[in-house]
Structures are given as C-alpha cells and as structure tokens.
C-alpha cells in the first residue's frame, strides 16, 4: 500500500484536499497520564449534530482518512452514533483510545460499523510502570483486554507507546507483547507542552543519549534513518515541512480548526464558519505558501533533507511556524551527528558572548527535548 498511499497523499496535498482529518471528540479522560498535554476540564464539546455536520463537510471537501481521538472517546455516550455517521460517509475511521471502557460488546459494535484501525496507548509491558503513568491501578490489564477484544473482531490494533524517561528500556518487552498478541507496536518519544504552555510533560522525556541509542536500534529504525543527509537541492527547498494544512487538518472538541494536533494555530471555528471557508481561508493559504526555501534558518541547514521539521512545534516554541524548532534540531542532530543551523548560530553567539564576558541567557543551551516521530 505504501507507494500508492504516498501517491494519493501527494496528489491530495497538491490539490489542497484535506485527505486526513483528526477530530478530538472530547478532552475529558478517565486516565490521568503524567505527561498528558490536555486540560481534561475544558468542556464545551460539540454536540452529536455538530459533529455530523462537520463530517458531512469534511467528506464534501474530500477527506478520506478520519482519526477520532480524545481525551477518551468512550466517555462520549454518542461515540457509536459518531462513528456510524462517519462510516455512512465511507470515511476510513481510525480510533484512538485507552481501551478501559471497551469490552466484547463495544468491540463488536465497532467491528460491525467498519472501523478499520484502533490505536491503544500502552506505556510499558510491566503493570506497575504502565499504571504509574496513567495513575489508574489495573489500567494495563484493562487496556490489554481491549486489545484482544478489538483484534478478535478483525480490526487492526496498534499499541502506541510514548517512550518515556522511566520506561525507556521497556520497548523490547512491548514489541514482544505485541508479537504475542498479533498486533503492531509503534513508538514515539514526543512530548508536547500542555495547552497552557506548562512544560511539565518535558520532565518525562528521555535523555539525548537514550534517544541516540533508540535511533540506532535496528529493532526500531532502519540503518538509513541515521545516514548522513544528502545535499540540499532544489527539491528539498521547494518542498514543505509536513502535510499539516496541506492534506491534513485537526479539529478540537470545541470546533477550533488547526493545521495539526501539534500545531495550535487556530484558523477558525466550525461553529462560526463552514469547514470549506476555514480550509480555504487566509491562514491556511499563508501556511501553504511557505516552502523550505522561505524558512529563514532551516533553508540553510545541512540536516533539512532528513529533518522531520514540525512547523507546529516551531509555532509553539516561538510563535512563528517558519522558525526552527529546537526540538527538531535536537532530533536531527541525534540522527545525523551534524549540528543544525540553529545550533550553530547559537553556538557562535554563545562564543561571542563569552569572548565579551557577558552572560547569555536568551540563546543558551538548546532544548534537550527529543522526539522520534519519524520512526512510525
């Protein structure tokens, strides 16, 4: 499917069709994961009818892949109605859940509705470690039960693991568990700041040294993942960083539309405007106009051919999606061993400051935050 999927995605992007949409149906949750970036107290969720209308508009705009996530989706009493409407529009539905409220009857209903894929968050194969992340005793056992129920109904189940400081060594065990269950395991050490800007989730990140080891573990990544980058050429410079706002879009439970779940630039709200009005509006158009050659720092970076630069993280860090993201600079450095353009600028500035005998608080050491979103 890979090459055909790539072609379809590229065509949608070129045509500016939102082929993949991600909707959080609620931010309420029945787990309290220590690293979570959401505020579970924010209400005002869209009603069932509002979500149905949104799906109608997404389908009309060309959406094919729909991710329904949260918060915890099973806390919506209308979740089956929501999924049923999506499937009636022939949308490909992927659910993201912790699985705590999914037993055989719920799995059967999702199976009958034609859900293709379900992602379940698993933080460790060790109960005490997983439950210490979710803060819910017995949560791993319940999540794994859901994995089995959904798998038995014929859905593709993926165990999604955030690699964290205290569970960084657990991924081989999770891979073994996934193999035993006949499901897929995927890993990602990305941490996001909380919605209010609180960087507490970063306390749970893995160290840079651990990240380098992870990137070079053949059980997780191909050898080419850490190969030296090819020269920066016109293809690289004419490209864009990711599909956010080109072929992908995110909608909050309250109807705010942003380019991606990691890109909190609100471009409109579907309670005030139609999806098409927002998607074709000035903020999305401005985002789509930006190519790598328009990025003031990243266009000069030797890592740009391999960097999985996230404009959303850049926006969160600096308020400018054209700026470099120190998080991604650390990530590409961990892969290639080549300091990014931003790191070199900071290093030179720091040297000058030291020569001048001055402190240099503003552009000091780069963020130790790491992520591995590319290995999926």
């Amino acid at each position: 499917m890979g090459q055909l999927l790539d072609r379809v995605t590229a065509k949608a992007s070129a045509l500016q069709i939102p082929i993949q949409a991600h909707l959080d149906v609620t931010w309420k949750c029945n787990e309290r994961c220590v690293h979570c970036y959401l505020d579970h107290g924010i209400g005002g969720d869209m009603t069932t009818d509002e979500i149905r209308t949104l799906f109608d508009q997404l389908a009309a705009a060309g959406t094919f892949f729909l991710v329904i996530s949260g918060g915890e989706i099973m806390l919506r009493k209308d979740i089956f109605d929501i999924v049923a409407h999506a499937r009636s529009l022939l949308l490909d539905v992927r659910l993201k859940t912790n699985g705590l409220l999914i037993r055989k009857p719920e799995a059967e209903r999702f199976g009958r509705l034609g859900v293709r894929t379900v992602d379940i968050s698993i933080y460790s194969w060790r109960h005490e470690v997983h439950d210490a992340v979710t803060l819910i005793p017995g949560s791993l056992a319940r999540s794994l039960a859901a994995v089995r129920y959904l798998r038995d109904e014929g859905m593709e189940v993926e165990m999604r693991t955030t690699i964290m400081r205290d569970s960084a060594a657990d991924y081989p065990g999770i891979q073994a568990l996934a193999k035993e269950l006949g499901v897929v395991a995927r890993f990602d050490p990305t941490m996001n700041p909380r919605l209010d800007g609180d960087r507490k989730p970063f306390d749970y990140r893995v160290s840079n040294e651990t990240l380098k080891e992870i990137y070079r573990d053949p059980r997780l990544a191909e050898e080419a993942y850490c190969a030296p980058p090819s020269p920066v050429d016109a293809d690289v410079l004419d490209g864009h960083s990711c599909e956010a706002g080109h072929g992908g879009v995110y909608i909050t439970p309250q109807g705010d539309v942003t380019p991606c779940v990691q890109f909190p630039m609100v471009c409109g709200n579907i309670r005030r405007n139609t999806f098409a009005e927002i998607w074709n509006g000035p903020q999305f158009r401005r985002l789509r106009d930006v190519r790598v050659r328009n990025l003031p720092v990243c266009s000069t970076c030797a890592n740009s051919p391999v960097c999985s630069r996230c404009p959303g993280l850049a926006y969160s860090e600096t308020g400018d999606f054209r700026a470099p993201s120190s998080i991604d600079c650390e990530k590409s450095f961990a892969r290639t061993g080549i300091p990014s353009a931003l790191m070199q600028i900071r290093s030179a500035a720091s040297s000058r400051a030291q020569e001048n005998g001055a402190g240099f608080a503003g552009l000091g050491a780069s963020s130790p935050l790491v992520q591995i979103a590319g290995i999926q």
Binding site: M1, R7, V8, T63, F64, R87, L91, G114, T117
Partner: protein
C-alpha cells in the same frame, strides 16, 4: 449473455480524488484507485441495475467504446473487485442493508 448485478460493499472507505476514486478495503486494508471508467461502474453499482445497463448508460454513452468489448472488460473488472471484497456480485438484484 447472463447478466450480473453489482453492489458496492459497505466494508470499504471511498472518496473521489479528481477523476479517480480511492477505495480501501476494511477487510485487509488494501488500497485501490479506480480510473474514470472504473469509477463510473463503481458509482453505478447499486445492486438493482444490471451490469449491461450500467455499461450501456454509463460507459458507452460517455466513452466511445464497443458495447460487447466494454461489457467483457467490465465483467472482469467487477469480478476482480469482488475478489477484493469491495463489490458484491449476484445473478439477481442485491438488497442492500441500511
């Protein structure tokens, strides 16, 4: 000629992408793209209309082609999609559930 009836499976995801149709089977996650002619047949596959009528009204009327050859190609195409689980075939009209 024994005519056949064709109906779209509900166990799929589908969306038009310009002139082509993108379809994914829920059964095994296989992704297909149908060209303009194939997409015409797929759209018209309502379970009630015989394939010969679909070919006559939706293919021969829009694309200059020989009816017999078009029907033969369409039948092969429909059987291939049936094997993939994205079309249902029958020698009688197909009742589709809600």
């Amino acid at each position: 000629m024994n005519d056949i009836y064709v109906a779209r499976s509900s166990a799929i995801a589908a969306r038009a992408l310009e002139e082509e149709m993108v379809i994914m089977s829920m059964r095994d996650s296989t992704l297909f793209t149908l060209n303009e002619v194939a997409a015409e047949i797929w759209r018209a596959a309502d379970g009630k209309t015989p394939l010969s009528e679909i070919v006559r009204n939706n293919i021969c009327a829009k694309f200059a082609t020989d009816p017999d050859a078009a029907y033969a190609d369409a039948e092969i195409f429909c059987r291939q999609l049936s094997d993939c689980g994205i079309l249902m075939l029958s020698d009688r009209p197909i009742e589709l559930g809600g």
